[in-house]
């Protein structure tokens, strides 16, 4: 039997990988989007595990909404990325450095 704390440890590991990926990654913006998705997956795991062990459905409903929002978010993110590629010709993190001060 998998216990609640196992799920929470798993999700916190995924969460940390996602966060670390965002801060360490200095090359590709697509990787950033993947890391954001990892964070959301960790959150979903949390919600489902809590929902199951509490016997309360609210958590599973929240997950549906998070999945939908995540899809919309990625759609907008990729659209912005396409624009960036069009104006800069590259999607590396280091091309986003014109705004400073």
């Amino acid at each position: 039997m998998v216990s609640l704390s196992d799920y929470l440890i798993l999700s916190s590991i995924i969460f940390c990988i996602g966060l670390a990926g965002i801060f360490i990654n200095r090359t590709n913006i697509i990787t950033l989007l993947m890391c954001v998705e990892l964070i959301l997956v960790a959150v979903n795991t949390n919600f489902i595990a809590f929902s199951h062990f509490l016997g309360n459905e609210a958590g599973q409903i929240v997950v549906f909404f998070i999945l939908t929002v995540a899809a919309a978010e990625v759609a907008i993110g990729l659209a912005i990325l396409t624009l960036l590629f069009r104006v800069r010709g590259s999607i590396n993190v280091d091309v986003t450095n014109s705004l400073k001060g």
Binding site: I29, V87, T96, L99, G101
Partner: protein, 484 residues
Amino acid sequence: MNNIDTFDTATLWLALPEIFLLSAIVVVLLLDLFLTKPFKQVTYYLTQLSLLITAILAFNLIGEPKSILFGNAFILDDMASVFKIFMAGSTMVALVYTRHYLTEHKLFRGEYFVLVLLAMLGMMVMVSGYSLLTLYLGLEILSLSLYALIAIARERAGAVEAALKYFVLGAIASGLLLYGMSMIYGISGSINISDIATFSANATLASREMLILNFGLVFLVIGIAFKLGAVPFHMWVPDVYQGAPTSVTMFLSTAPKIAAVAMLIRILVEGMGAMHAYWSDLLMVLALLSIALGSVVALMQTNIKRMLAYSTISHIGFILLGFVTGVISGYGAAVFYVLVYILMSLAAFGMIILFNKQGFEADKISDFKGLSKHSPWFALMMLVIMLSMAGVPPFIGFYAKLFILQQVVSAGFISIAVIVVVFAVISAYYYLQVIKSMYFESSDKAMTTTATMDVKLILSINAVLILMVGIFPDFWIKLALSLF
């Protein structure tokens, strides 16, 4: 207080402003597709009309007893209604300036207005959200619309870059916020603010429940601080303010701040008021860092949009300071500050937009050199705006700062108040620099405006209000205090 657990169609009218706005968005979106070039202005007028009707509907709901509807997901109280009116009002004013900007820069498209309306809907959901899920959804509707709005100037590399930065950091912030929400759901067993409030009030100090609640709380505070742009989660603010089209910067810096403050009130004050001792320390650190960094870094800016971004960060610090006090009058002072900030911010960005022409952004401080010779009336108004932001009496910015500091002192944080005043004095320098450029320097390049009469009129009213409300601030203060 009405508390209706199940979904009941008879209570739908309490959400009438939201329902109306959603229908209006659909109409504007569809109608815009069928409008030919000469009739594109219809979209603009319809948008203004929808916002006006939304504000009127929200106004009619003032005085209704506090009701929690739709399975505890939605709250209608006076605070929600008043915030909705102010958000609709500031968006309407912002759109008047925006039209001038969009026409000058050939960005006038129907999508712009639809996205603004959608952002407005998201903000209304945030203001009225009473469960973690509705608050999150409102926040996402707002954020997704804002990402798209910034990228609407799709040929400008700066705007696209700003959109990308805002998107990435906004997505991280939502992720952190959600992680905190999942923790709080896990320990309290509910996503409703009222259940969380009961749970956190009953949790004993230093128990296991308290530990996990506190763990979730830290993530929630980080998420909200990201959205507000408080230091150390401010990295996106200057870049987005500078890179985004000025009309979007103006929108971004006004109404969404009310929504973010409302969300802070719903989650921290109403949901976790019992844990005030924990979150007030966090907010105190955020507030002090924001005021310090916002005041000092702005000194070195040459771009006025970037300077206003740092000034926003320091204003956010003041707003957070109001919540640190933990008393109702402190929260009232914070709400008063946010309303005042919006009035000033609208006027300041309105001034920049006023002088925008095709291919000229008027966003350098040096562009304002010698403005007093060429257009003394607008130079005078810029003077009023800058002095008000610096906190000079009798302008309204002074009273906003005064009330926050009064509350901070009476809550016993005297040393904090002294530090804050020192930084407020430092920040006066960069506001005065703009005034110096306008009045004591000359330039052979005269900035002229092609703006139509409505922009000039609304901008003048906006700036005069900063003075008038500063002389008679009673009504606004009473209004802000009556919301709690």
